[in-house]
Symmetry: C5
């Protein structure tokens, strides 16, 4: 569940561990200024550096990390430190923001909730340089298409400001994707609540527990992100202008809010677990009450019947002609007395056996 791809202990730093079944990199470049947008699919990674030109913003998006040679070539061209490249490839890393000489590296984690409520995590490494943004994604995916669309549409500020704004836009898109994830989990928790009240099974508890683990995983993705953003905003960076800092403050707010919702949902899970255990306890109590009432009523009666089933020669009551009705009457009185006893204890009567229809 919490495995990480990592080189063998003692391996050289910068050793890349390509994920099993890693896909070969596809490189998509989008270059724009106020007036124009060019989109280029690049096959030869050696040509990438030349695409970055003055007066334009270039976004190089590398999807798939399945070819070490390509990755190393790009790293060399863009002056990427071996450790930074390792961080990008050997996912999952803790989200972080690190400043290097030529660029700012942001390691972020994209989350999506599958329809089966499983978490699909994809690490995105963002290098923010002077006039370019270079992103590495583990998988082919369209998570960042929304940003591309905004560039193409050209509305808003995105075409009029620097590469830092583009990096912000990408980061913001990634963090905003956490909202549907936590809300999806929250919705399922709400669906589980009535089920816990009426049909609690260990499977339900196991599912609650899985949700808890999911929430923990989400938290581990967003918390260090928030931390890193906080530090970036506090300390500043050469690569980030004041205007973009204002926007990053907004992104930080979103990250904080996601953390809040995750924590609320974790409390919700704990609460539901408590209810679960209490419902089970109540049910055991109910079952016991039924058993006790049935047994307490019929066992004494059976005893009385047993008495007069004995075969003693001398049992005067058996000879009386009123014997039988009297015994039946005694039994009836016993039953009534016991019913009253149980009623006074509150074990029988409206709702008390079931206990689910009593709310305000």
């Amino acid at each position: 569940m919490f495995h990480k791809r990592h080189p063998a202990a003692g391996a050289r730093p910068g050793t890349l561990v390509l994920p099993e079944g890693a896909v070969p990199p596809k490189i998509h470049v989008i270059r724009y200024d106020h007036d124009q947008v060019e989109e280029i699919e690049v096959d030869d990674s050696a040509k990438l550096r030349a695409l970055v030109v003055d007066g334009k913003i270039t976004w190089i998006d590398v999807q798939g990390v399945g070819d070490e040679a390509v990755l190393r070539r790009i790293a060399e061209d863009f002056g990427i430190h071996l450790l930074a490249l390792e961080d990008v490839v050997n996912a999952p890393q803790r989200p972080k923001i690190e400043e290097y000489a030529d660029h700012l590296l942001m390691i972020t984690r994209e989350c999506q909730l599958s329809t089966k409520l499983e978490l699909e995590v994809d690490q995105v490494g963002i290098f923010l340089g002077e006039r370019y943004v270079l992103t590495f994604q583990e998988q082919y995916g369209d998570g960042l298409d929304c940003v591309r669309s905004r560039i193409r549409a050209g509305k808003g500020r995105i075409r009029h400001v620097g590469a830092d704004y583009l990096a912000y836009a990408i980061l913001d898109a990634i963090i905003d994707e956490y909202y549907p994830v936590v809300e999806g989990i929250g919705d399922d928790l709400e669906r589980l609540e009535p089920r816990i009240m009426t049909r609690p099974t260990p499977a339900t508890l196991a599912r609650l527990n899985r949700h808890k683990a999911l929430l923990l995983k989400v938290r581990r993705g967003i918390w260090p992100q928030r931390d890193a953003l906080n530090r970036l905003l506090r300390d500043g960076s050469r690569f980030v202008t004041d205007e973009v800092r204002l926007h990053l403050r907004d992104t930080l707010d979103h990250a904080s809010q996601v953390v809040d919702v995750v924590d609320s949902n974790r409390e919700l899970v704990n609460g539901l677990m408590n209810i679960y255990l209490s419902v089970i306890a109540n049910r055991t109590n109910d079952v016991m009450k039924v058993l006790t009432i049935m047994a307490s009523i019929f066992i004494p009666l059976t005893f009385i019947a047993g008495i007069y089933g004995m075969n003693f020669d001398v049992m005067p009551e058996l000879r009386w002609s009123w014997g039988y009705p009297v015994v039946i009457g005694v039994m009836g009185v016993t039953v009534v007395a016991l019913l009253i006893f149980f009623f006074l204890k509150g074990w029988i009567g409206s709702g008390s056996v079931d206990g689910r229809d009593e709310e305000e």
Copy 2:
């Protein structure tokens, strides 16, 4: 439960997401100085900026955020950053205080407890400028009428000091509304306690749990508020005079106290949950005792009766004329012996079956 209105991931920053069924803005302006108070209902948002004049304090209260054009117009006139406007409209945001070039933005959350013990939350965004206060409320509401009344009445300091005092008065009114909320929850918890002791049902536990969630929600409203106030008091702000800082320190005290009460109530809820589980456990124990006593007494008796109900040809006891009374006697002795045994174990006797009448 914890949903937030937010634009689709990757949307342009500043994208407004009007709440479904949002009401069109109603704009109420109150302008005053030492001597005079004017109140104006404004229909045309374009005229608002002109209302702010030297020598007077102007409070522009916008209720309802259902018209994007109006909101954008106001934002433009008052130099409100798109991200700030987004914070005001896309509620709920985390409460916070941010300083911009032209004004201080306070995002606050107003809470009220409905008679059904549900939390009604309304976000209030407060822009504090040089000579004006501009508030945005999600809903039409009269939560701030108390402040208006104080302005009209003209007693106290409110008419003699600046816009910052007005902003303080609004903030203080909002935070003071938390008291009845937490007290209302606390009162209901106290009402629940005897019920948990006498009639615990899973529904009661679910209600406790709902209260816990409520308290969590209140905490999430007030905690960041307190945090933000704390930071504002520590760092100061161009828009806040020393006199008002003293008053804000008082508001901070109130916020801290609300947090304290919320936390105490959360502990109370946890305590009640423990009692709940223990009452259930005790009841199961009581039920078992009754069953055990009844079964243990009558099952042996029934067995004895069963013996003498056997149809063996040779069973000398059946022929004895004292057989029947002797067997009845043996049964009586058995019953007494068992009763003594149970009494010594403390399972029968005064109060032990019920267990609720033993406190000093």
Copy 3:
């Protein structure tokens, strides 16, 4: 339980909310220097300010806050800010220490444990000025008489140092009163322990829970006090000399120790709750064992008796003259076999049914 007197939301700052049934203020003044002690009962609050003279220390003790006019008069004469006065009257406030232009305000909370183990809380506001100490107590009370006695006796440093030493003496007396409170609760917890082992009832748990709430309340009284003292010692204050700081460090130690004892007692309560639940679980287990043993022994026997109570025409055993003793023998063997089975499971034998006499 956690209610606070507070003005309606939106009221003017400085609005006083006199407690229901508040008592009219009684003002006791004690004025002293190295040589002399004067004690004066003052009826007319207007004369108070004049009592403060050079070369003497004046302690003005106002007990009862039931007369707004008097309070406002004093506040005016001594330059007390409206918010400070509000803090003093609208109890309970969080304990705190705030520096104003003319004086240092300490809000403290006096605690006493009634014989019924209820907490009696009385807020004491202490204004420490240049040559005077002004205290406000909610109730008439003699909690500070010990300080007065020390002044009268004139031993030790109290008559030779400034007003700050007097304020320290008052604060120290208030904090030292916490010791008997937490020790009283601790003693009762120790009394409860054997009872939980031998006679656990939900009432006992409710009492544990009440103690927990009490401890929480004490903690909420002493923790912010300690915090405020800590800050005062760190930052210093114009009104506090170095000699008195040394003494306040001692008071801070006491406050820290009270917090420690409170926290230990809270852990103790949690431990007792665990024991409680486990004792209940053990008892249910014991009850079940008795039931199981009785039922398992007699139900098979009754069945055997039932067999030979059948009325089939052809049941050869019934005709055998050894039939009856053989069946009785079979029953005896069954009983012995079952007893051995239960003994091997450890359910019967010395101590195992009761389980309370096995310790080391």
Copy 4:
């Protein structure tokens, strides 16, 4: 359990509360330099100050605090502040390190575990002056003899460095005594584990709980000690040379490690409590299974026998000559069917009733 000797609230600061049954002070002085060691038993406390001479290190060890006059005399001679003396006598104080004009005061707590696993706590106050160390112990004791032996032996650094090294040696000896304490508790916890698995009684839980309280007490002794050392190392002190600071860093490591072990043991206790509750729950489950199996098998059989024990005139089966064997056969089939049912549910079969022999 957590009582402290303290003066009545409101007493003069510096009031000494001699412990009941306090022993009269015995004063042992050891004075040494590179070459020589003198040991002196002193009866007259007035002569102590004169023993401190240049060029030698003097260690004055006062055991027993039962004579206020002696204590006050020493305090006066060595310039000990009344509050410092109070800290030394009114034990237990929180361990702390405070710098005064003439000396550094370290309040420490010596712990030992009795053979009955009770904690014997003895407060040691250490005054470190220019050329002397003055220690106060509550009880007569030989806890510091190891340091004396090192002085006498004269190996290592102890005779060649200043009084601060001596104070360090004493402090180190005191903190190292915590190791056997926490290890003793840990060992007993390991002894308890198998007992909890096989014979859980509330007494065992109570013992676990006592261990938890013990660990808490140890933690309260060592934690503030570590804190104080940390602060001393960070801020430095006139009385401590750089060489000794290096050694104190080592002592701090030891204190940190003791805290670690205490915390690990606390987790261990919590884990054992969980196992305890689960073992009880499993046992109840086992008991119930036996009851259910016995009852479910024999109750239906008894019913069948009951049918043919009825005395109706017309019951054709009773007349059949195969009636009896057929009924016995039906009963046999019933038993087998129920056994198969219980076997399929996993309630009977190898190990399932007991459940303790299944591990890997």
Copy 5:
């Protein structure tokens, strides 16, 4: 479990406590520069210092600490403080990084998981000097062979940079070994989950608890390591160049990630414990239901049969020729009514008795 080798309380600082059965030191030296690698087995510890020459990096690896004379000799030659030597020998110490005059000391803890899921811990002390690295390992072992291989192979940076890089490589290898440990525990936890759902025994819980203790132990090994690294990176050190700091930042990331995984696994253990308890509770509930259903159905029937087994002379029903079938019919109706009752309560029907087959 948490024992530490430590000298008797009060022993001289620097006292070495050789582990029982400690192995005599084997000294392996590897000396290299860009071009050349020499490997030397050294028998005479007196010659070690001379091996450190300018222009080369020397790594002296001492395996085994069983000979005090050798250790003291090395310490003297390399200027190792007695306390530092004590830290290296008296394992386990808390991992830490301390700067001395001649070298930087890193105390680290190597972890490996045995096939029986036991933790094998080996302390490694690393002294980083100007041109040498000196390591002490408790046991003979090949944990650092991977680093030696990299030196021999000569690829990467290791042969071209200073001794600090070598120390980093060793530290990194040690920390990377934590990954398989925490993943091994995590895998076993996942294997335990289905077992808890289907066959929960106290032994399973005890195993969960052991895993929890293991995780705690791992955390205690890695947490202070991370802490120390953090401080080293923040404060810098004379012995660490900027290039190596970049690499240590990567190592810190790894340590943080290990802590994250440990914490996630601890949450997982807690979740599994909850499931465990709930499965037991559900099983008790199931057992009770079977008992209740069987008893509730057959006890009334047996009673009815008992009635007509009575021997009264006058029992008209016994004489009716339809008596027997009517009674059988009444019994049948009773059974059906009870079955319907239990079905409506949800106690019988598909899956409800077992409760494990209901998930979506």
